[in-house]
Each structure stands twice: as structure tokens, then as C-alpha cells.
Symmetry: C2
């Protein structure tokens, strides 16, 4: 085989593995109990590696919140001192088979979704999704959302889930894609379907009413509850397609608000990074473009496995949040088909005549065409201390893909 | 005012009333307890009035099932004799502020959804939706679905609902229209959202686990559970717009499998009927076109208030069930805008750039253009004794609208 044939074979294998992924929610447990290596004063974060001093405002805010939540410091000033001392280790989620939305911070006592890719046996993890602390807010009120998750909601869900013997997520994902979700910023259908399943599971498990009722209220009123599940699913699916020799398929896209980074199946654990771009979008009342931080979060794992911006044509309901027209949304999905290696046979889009979602981003096609992936995402403030301020669309820097292609040539020539 | 101005004024009022409708689920109770006049050996049915001998096979089968369910006869032969004797009164649902899908049969002990239009104070009712007895099947198995509804599911839901103080349905309807439901044959989103609300309500009401668990399983696995709620909502909304002098707006479209009938706001209780048309559609495995009965059911109340075929462009997921392409679905919605009097400001369709649903069918526009409403519907067998056999699209006979326009000219000239 010449190199071109080897690349085609590698990409075929990677694409098949992306397609065959079967995410199953198997547990909801404290990160320190289930994530290998998650111990001591460790906080993991979204995006490629970054030191405290170079973190953007929102990520610094979220890390401060995480320190306070763990009780490692009592005040914001003490937390800053502790972080500046270097005593708290800061490492990327992706180095721990993990993802987190926005700042993406995770610490040992925080319960995470545990998703197993039952087709290949690997596991991935994701933190709780909420609209305050992960955006950089660290008020006591914002941290209450993390405490209730740890003390009430996650344990009640865990009881229901374990009694049920896990929950297959692919059926929910397939249905949600036919119900106007794109599984990145819009999770109205998936969250509702998940809440249906967990309501039955908690009643079956005889979860006490004083825990079940607040948990039911939480999950039935949280229309992004499934984002954490979709992200853990995406990571579990993408990881199974990682590490294939000669494959030019992207297996991670992640941003820390300072840098955008990608990883490629055939290029091991290397990150290819460039400065994080600005997000073009719409702002919540009281906020404006000048307040916005740069692109942030591991949530682009959604696009990495063919969801989010890649299936925007099937999710026009999200346009009130991110802007644009239904015609533009359809065009994005068609455009993404030009930079991908395959079409998912089960993730089908009714609005496009039941065509499959474009899957498997090929760095060669991106560099040759100059067409970068379209990602729809939320927007955090540039300074610490704020909740979500908006949402919009963003494209990664072409530079990440160029660097990766150069590294690929060097490795395989 | 000349007659044209009077018609415009009447239609403006009717359209406003259709738009202002606020359906609220206020009870789930046996028909005999809540529907005025529902007493004795009465079975109400879908469509315009029809005698036993002229009923189509599926409706006869459903009536037989209803007689057996009430225990008025012990065998199918006895039921037929009883029905031929005329001892059981058969009257249209619409004469009782009521609607029913397909054969639509309702008898006193069967629990119905009770929906109040809180903007105008009127109430409407609809029977349980299932895929067997209402399609004409009368086996013991099929009737078990009615008995469980009466004995377990409806009472458990009622306890939750009354403790909650009712449930506003418009928020669910608005969301579902942005999640790919058209609220006639596709109710995936609305049913899931409804199940979430009722799960919380039943836990709040401390419904005993032995009743709550089977009920939760029933509602979370029944992706047409909301059809009965949508139909009762549609009837409650349409009735508030009925009886307006000079209005040419349609306030009911209903079929009994033999005849298609319409009612018009300014024309009182008259029905304008013509033979029921064939449905063009797709058949479930084991059935074919030659097995199909003619168009049947009160469910076209959905299209009467701007849902169903009128919003098909926003619900391409249904095309696997009824056939056609997304482009055709969008074209149907645009076509319906040409025969209606308004656009709903709250029922918005993302796939069409958030345009409002076309609402208020004007018999003048239908007759002048020859464009009849598009209805998406299920298909029953031509003979008694079968469950659902398919689904598809149908248009009412133009003749109904012509007759109505002639009657209108006679009344108001």
C-alpha cells in the first residue's frame, strides 16, 4: 500500500469506529471514585493544557469556584493565593478521558456522568452542566448548584440508574436528532426523554420522595441536562477512534478560552493549538460583544462526532439562540459533508431528507478546502465572576489543522 | 357595512378567538361524570351523524368493542344484535363538545381528558388514544387497554393532576411545534414533555407506587399520549370561535369513515358532508392499499386550529410515517397560508424562519382557489376487527366547502 492507501484504510477504520460507538450511562459518581488519577488537589479543565496565569477570566473564575466548593480555601483571596502557589494541579480533562462544558472544571468530590462505549469497552466522563460556575461565577449561590448536585440530585439519579442496570443513550440521541436537537446547545428533546427514563428508574428503585421530588423537578426543568451525557458519549465514541496509524481524522477539538486545540487519531497525544477565536452570536440582556471571552469548552466533542454545528440543518429551533436562518443552517450541514470522511447511518436528519450526519473530520480536507468545522457554542464573560452571557457560532483556527497536517507528514513520510 | 365588510369583521373575530385560545387540562374523568348528556346506553363516535347500518367496518368494530367494554353485551354476536335493535344511541362526539381519534367511540364509563379554554371558559373532551380498539379491533386483548386506562392509568393521572391544580397545555404545544411535532400524527415531543410534568405531579400527590409505576411506564412509552390532549385542546379552541355571524371560518372537520363533514362558524350546527376520501399513505407490514377504509376520525380538529398538515413543514420526522419529502412538507405549510385568515403569533415554525402557523380555514378561499386543507392522518382497515394499518395524507372533498358557501349565501343574502 502506498501512503494514500494507508491513510484511506486508517480513516475507514476511524470512521467505522466513530459510527459503531454505543454510549451507555453506567454510573453517576464522584470524580475521585471513578476517574483514574483524579486525586489530591487536582482540578481538571477544558481545552489543551494551560497554566493558571494564562487562563482566561472565566476559567480562572470557575477554578476559584471549584477550590471554594472543595473547601480548599475559605475566601476568594485565599483561593487565588492557593492557585498562584501552584499547590493545586491544573490539567486538561482530555488527559483523564474526561470532558467538561465551558471552563469545564472538575475536582474529586464532584459527581460526573460515567459513559461506557459498550462497542469497545472504553469509558469517558463529563461534569454536570449548569449556567453559572462553569461560566466563571463563584458566588455562594452559584456553588449551591454544585452542592445540590453532589448531595441530592446525583445520588438520587445514581440510585435509579444502578437499580436499572444502566441506560443506553444511543436511542435517545437518535430520537433527539429527529426532534430538533443538535446535541450541543439544544437539548430540549434529549433532556426530556432522559427525564422520562430516569423518572421511571427512580420510582422503580424506590428512591425516597424527599430526594426523588427535588431531583425530578431539577431534571424536568433543566433543558440542557443531556449536554453532559452527550459530551461524555462523544468523548467515549471519539476515544475509540483515536490512536489509529495513518488516520487523519480529528478525535478531539477543545478550547480553554485562551487556545483552541485539536488532536488527530494518527498523531497520538499531541495537541495542535492556536489562539482561541471570538464567537459570533447573540447576547443575553445586559451583555454585549465587548464583554465576551474567547471560545471555550470541551463541548466541541459534539462536532467531533458529527453533532452540534454539523447537524444544525436539523435543529432550526436553536437559531433564536445562536442567530442565522434555516437556509444557512441547512447549508452548514451540507458544507460539513465536504470535510468529513463518512455519513452516520443511524443519526439521520429528517429536514435533509433523512441523510446521515456528516462524521469524521479529515484534516486534509479542511486544509485543502480552507473550510473549517462549524461549532455552535455558548459565550462566557471575559472576566471572572459572571454566568452565561450569550451563544453563537464559531470556527476553529485553520492553523490548528495546518500544524497537524505538517506533523502528520513528518511522522509518516 | 356591506356584506364583505361584515364577513371580514366576523372572520377577524373568529381568527382572534382561535389565536387567543388557552387550553388547560383540568380533569381526567369518566365521560358520564363530566360530559353533559353522556348517560344511559349512549356511544358517541367521530365524524358527522351516521346510523349503525351505514357505519364503516372500522367504526362498527369499535362500537362493538365499546359495547363489550361497557358490559352491555357478553359476545360479539349479542353486541351486533343490540346495536341493530337501536337500543344503543349513536351520536357524534361533536354534538357533546367532544372529539375522538379514528372511530372515536366514547361511552359513559370511559375516562376522558377534560380541557378548559381558560380564555373563554368553555370545555371540551377527548377519549384515550390507542392503536387498536379505536381502529375497530374488539378482541379481549384490545379491550384490556381500555380497562387499564379506566382502572389504573387515568385515576393515577387524575390524582396527580387535581393535586397540581390542572396543567396548562399551551406551553407544551408551543414547545412541541419547535421540536418537530405537528400535533396530529407526531407527538413525540409533546408526549415526552407531558410525561415529565405528570411524573412530578404524581410524586407530589403521593400516588401509591403500585398505581404510579405502571402509569409512568404507560405515559413514557406512549408517544401519542398527547394526541388526545391536543384534540381536546383543538376542540376547546375551535368551539370558542364558533357561532360568529358572518364568519366563513371552518370550526370543525370530522370524518366517520363514510362521510367527511365540516362546520362553519357563521352557519350554526349544520354539517356539510360528502363521501369520505381515500387516504394516500404508507402501510404497516402485512397490510396494503386494498385493505384500507376511508378517511376517519375527529382528529382533523388539529388542522382546524392550524396544526397537523398545516405545520407539516416543521415536522419532517413524520415523513417516514406518511410519505413525501421535506420540500413537499414545507410547500404544504406555505400552501395552507393561502386558504387561511391569519397566522398564529405563538405557534412558530423554526424551519420556516419562525413564521406563525396558518390558522382559520376560510371556505371562500378554499372554493375560489380549489385548494383544500391538507390533513395527515392514520389509516384503519375497511373491515371490523383490525388495529392500525397505516398512515398518510388526505384532502377533504371540495364539495363540503361548496355546499357550505351556498348555505352561507342563502343565510346572509
Amino acid at each position: 500500500m502506498d501512503i494514500k492507501q494507508k491513510i484511506e484504510a486508517g480513516n475507514l477504520e476511524a470512521t467505522e469506529k466513530l459510527i459503531q460507538g454505543e454510549p451507555v450511562l453506567v454510573d453517576i459518581a464522584p470524580a475521585g471514585e471513578v476517574i483514574p488519577g483524579m486525586e489530591g488537589k487536582l482540578i481538571t479543565h477544558s481545552g489543551p493544557p494551560i497554566a493558571w496565569a494564562r487562563m482566561c477570566g472565566a476559567q480562572q473564575g470557575a477554578v476559584i469556584g471549584q477550590v471554594l466548593y472543595e473547601g480548599w480555601s475559605k475566601t476568594v483571596d485565599e483561593a487565588r493565593e492557593l492557585l498562584e502557589s501552584g499547590e493545586v494541579r491544573l490539567e486538561p480533562n482530555h488527559h483523564y478521558d474526561t470532558v467538561g462544558p465551558m471552563a469545564g472544571t472538575i475536582s474529586p468530590s464532584a459527581p460526573v456522568w460515567v459513559v461506557e462505549n459498550s462497542a469497545f469497552g472504553n469509558r469517558a466522563f463529563c461534569r454536570q452542566v449548569e449556567g453559572r460556575q462553569q461560566f466563571g461565577e463563584f458566588s455562594d449561590d452559584a456553588l449551591d448548584g454544585l452542592r445540590l448536585w453532589r448531595d441530592v440530585w446525583a445520588p438520587a439519579l445514581r440510585d435509579g440508574l444502578l437499580n436499572r442496570g444502566g441506560l443506553e443513550l444511543k436511542p435517545i440521541i437518535v430520537q433527539a436528532l429527529q426532534m430538533g436537537d443538535e446535541l450541543h446547545n439544544r437539548h430540549s428533546a434529549s433532556s426530556s426523554l432522559f427525564a422520562n427514563a430516569m423518572a421511571v428508574a427512580m420510582v422503580e428503585a424506590s428512591v425516597p420522595t424527599e430526594a426523588m421530588l427535588p431531583t425530578l423537578r431539577y431534571i424536568t426543568n433543566h433543558n440542557l441536562i443531556f449536554l453532559g451525557l452527550a459530551m461524555a458519549s462523544g468523548k467515549a465514541i471519539a476515544d475509540a477512534a483515536h490512536g489509529i496509524d495513518y488516520s487523519t481524522v480529528v478525535t478531539a477539538m477543545a478550547r480553554n478560552g485562551t487556545e483552541f486545540g485539536i488532536r488527530v487519531s494518527g498523531l497520538g497525544d499531541l495537541w495542535f493549538t492556536a489562539p482561541a477565536p471570538e464567537v459570533e452570536g447573540l447576547f443575553l440582556p445586559g451583555y454585549k460583544e465587548a464583554d465576551a471571552g474567547l471560545d471555550m469548552g470541551d463541548s466541541a466533542i459534539a462536532e467531533t462526532v458529527g453533532w452540534g454545528g454539523f447537524v444544525l440543518g436539523g435543529a432550526p429551533g436553536i437559531l433564536t439562540l445562536v442567530g442565522g436562518t434555516p437556509e444557512e443552517a441547512l447549508a452548514y450541514t451540507r458544507e460539513m459533508a465536504t470535510i468529513t470522511t463518512g455519513e452516520h447511518p443511524t443519526y439521520r436528519l429528517p429536514a435533509l431528507g433523512f441523510v446521515g450526519a456528516p462524521i469524521g473530520i479529515d484534516i486534509r480536507k479542511v486544509v485543502q478546502s480552507g473550510v473549517t468545522p462549524i461549532i455552535d457554542t455558548a459565550i462566557a464573560h471575559k472576566d471572572p465572576g459572571y454566568p452565561i452571557i450569550g451563544a453563537g457560532l464559531v470556527r476553529p483556527p485553520l492553523e490548528c489543522f495546518k500544524q497537524a497536517l505538517i506533523a502528520f507528514s513528518q511522522k509518516y513520510s
